[in-house]
Amino acid sequence: MAVRLKFANDLNIFGSSRGAGGFLSTPVLIGGGYPAYGTVLSTAYGVDYEDGSSQVYSGILASWFYSKTCDVDTKADGSGGSFVDFGSASNIQFKANGTFVATSSEDIAGNAQEVPFGSSNYYNSGSYSDRNEVHNGSGNIDTVGTGTFTLFLNGTVIVFAYNEETYVPSPNGTAYANGQYSNYVWDGNGGYGTAGDGSYYSNGTEVDSGLRYTTSNEQTEVPPASGVYYDNGKFNQDTYLWNGSGGYTGGGVAGNPQGSFFPFGQFITDNDCPTIGVSGVGLGYFWDGNNGWYIASYP
């Protein structure tokens, strides 16, 4: 606020007579010769309105900026200094739409396209350099694509497309991923295609334990030298193994035979069972749980 002081006749604060009295406009000097507190020293127009509630964030510069301008006075503090009096600023308004804030120092991906067509999945097809942030005229910042747009290079991976599969066993088995796959890639002209990636599963890797099949049951001769053999609970399995080039071979399951011996007490047979004690009736062979057997009467 400007200050105006009225002085009596012949009062001369500057040390010389001015004759008639009147009003002094700025600067007003008092005491040691400084302008009085509040004396308007200058006025600036269209400068940042430095009010804490009127700031907006720039993502590019990672800092806050004032979103308004104003006209504001610089005033004397009465002791030779000055201050800018935003408390009495006038003509406060948002910075005009398009007012430059910053230019990006990094490429910003943009111009999304649907890949593959009809999937409703969109991916940026290139990047903007020197993209700008500008005030939008209502207190916020907009990022505008005014920079140079460059398509991603041919072969740039967009997203996984599909696995390469092999039927195991062929031709009517189940389709299994064989380690190779394809991605959608940009073609450098705004379109896309597919490109292979990955590597076949290494030679000897089992395709799926669920594909194992039993080739033979392990047997034990009961009794010894009888020439009669019975399944003892264990069995041998084969499976399908990748051959390192997308195909498969057959192979035995490591650790054959599989499974466990039949448990203790499981009946084997009563054929040719020798007579024990006073009665040979109702005797039979039973597994002992460890691939041996015993002869006992039926429970």
């Binding site: 009961v222 009794p223 010894p224 749980g289 041996g292 057997w293 015993y294 002869i295």
Partner: protein, 62 residues
């Protein structure tokens, strides 16, 4: 290689034991025979057999 032994089992209750684990117990009402790698422990009654297994810290079959 078949290294199983032929064992004659007396009348009573017998346990078939492998590495301090009892794979099973059964009653031999008229005695029996076994062709096995297992240790066979025989007692006149089931109670005596279980007591023997307990004393030797042999686990019973589940």
């Amino acid at each position: 290689m078949n290294t199983r032994k032929d064992i004659t089992i007396e009348k009573g209750w017998s346990a078939f034991v492998k590495d301090s684990e009892c794979l099973g117990i059964t009653e031999f009402k008229s005695g029996g025979k076994a062709h096995t790698l297992l240790e066979v422990i025989t007692k006149p009654t089931q109670a005596e057999l279980k007591a023997e297994l307990k004393a030797r810290k042999i686990s019973l079959p589940v």
